[in-house]
């Protein structure tokens, strides 16, 4: 599987600010995914990011709140905009290997005060 690196690994942010999370993959991948894991909860897909096209968002997630970039086949960013304490979560980037598995980065742990 590809090695997936996320930055920052954790951050504490103030209400109303925005934070951009970076996801770097060490090989070219077609599909990248962004998931959210709220405290004590399971993972929920935010959006699918393909290079060269706009991200596809799941129900309940909108581009204005979670803008995503995918400038090339190895990199993506997720921005959490106008944050509130409810946005405190782990945000995970993932990629689908050619064999069909989904692999994840270590996650970015966000606390909003």
């Amino acid at each position: 599987s590809a090695v997936i690196s996320q930055k920052p690994s954790r951050d504490i942010c103030q209400r109303g600010t925005s934070l951009t999370i970076q996801c770097q993959v060490d090989s070219q991948v077609t599909m990248m995914f962004w998931y959210r894991q709220q405290p004590g909860q399971s993972l929920t897909l935010i959006a699918t990011a393909n290079q060269g096209s706009e991200a596809t968002y799941e129900s309940g997630f909108v581009i204005d709140k979670f803008p995503i970039s995918r400038p090339n086949l190895t990199f993506s960013t997720l921005t959490v905009s106008n944050m509130s304490p409810e946005d405190s979560s782990i945000y995970l980037c993932g990629e689908t290997a050619n064999t069909g598995e989904l692999f994840f980065g270590e996650g970015s742990r966000l606390t909003v005060l």
């Binding site: 599909m31 909860q41 993972l43 929920t44 699918t48 994840f104 270590e106 996650g107 742990r109």
Partner: protein, 113 residues
């Protein structure tokens, strides 16, 4: 609607004891099935997967899982648990042509010495 159910929120076992974590799925057709482990403060690591063929699949760290179509289940097992296995375990599924993963709510495993 497609869903993955993990009936046990929290399981406690003694070190050296056997382990079985339950997972049931509800999909229109047999999905691809996965088990992931999340250690405290870590991202998700893929333990094993089932796509087709042999219904008993072997994974990393001594884990195995058995797919039972008649019961719509994909239970995870380990014959002898180690203290380092304490973590949260997530079962996940996706359709064959759809890369979106649906996760169960997770089972937290505590290992007593």
């Amino acid at each position: 609607a497609q869903s993955v159910t993990q009936p046990d929120i929290h399981i406690t076992v003694s070190e050296g004891a056997s382990l079985e974590l339950r997972c049931n799925y509800s999909y229109g057709a047999t999905p691809y099935l996965f088990w992931y482990v999340q250690s405290p403060g870590q991202g998700l690591q893929l333990l094993l997967k089932y796509f087709s063929g042999d219904t008993l699949v072997q994974g990393i760290k001594g884990f195995e899982a058995e797919f039972k179509r008649s019961q719509s289940s994909f239970n995870l097992r380990k014959p002898s648990v180690h203290w380092s296995d304490a973590a949260e375990y997530f079962c996940a599924a996706r359709g064959g042509s759809n890369y979106k993963l649906t996760f169960g709510k997770g089972t937290l495993l505590t290992v007593n010495p």
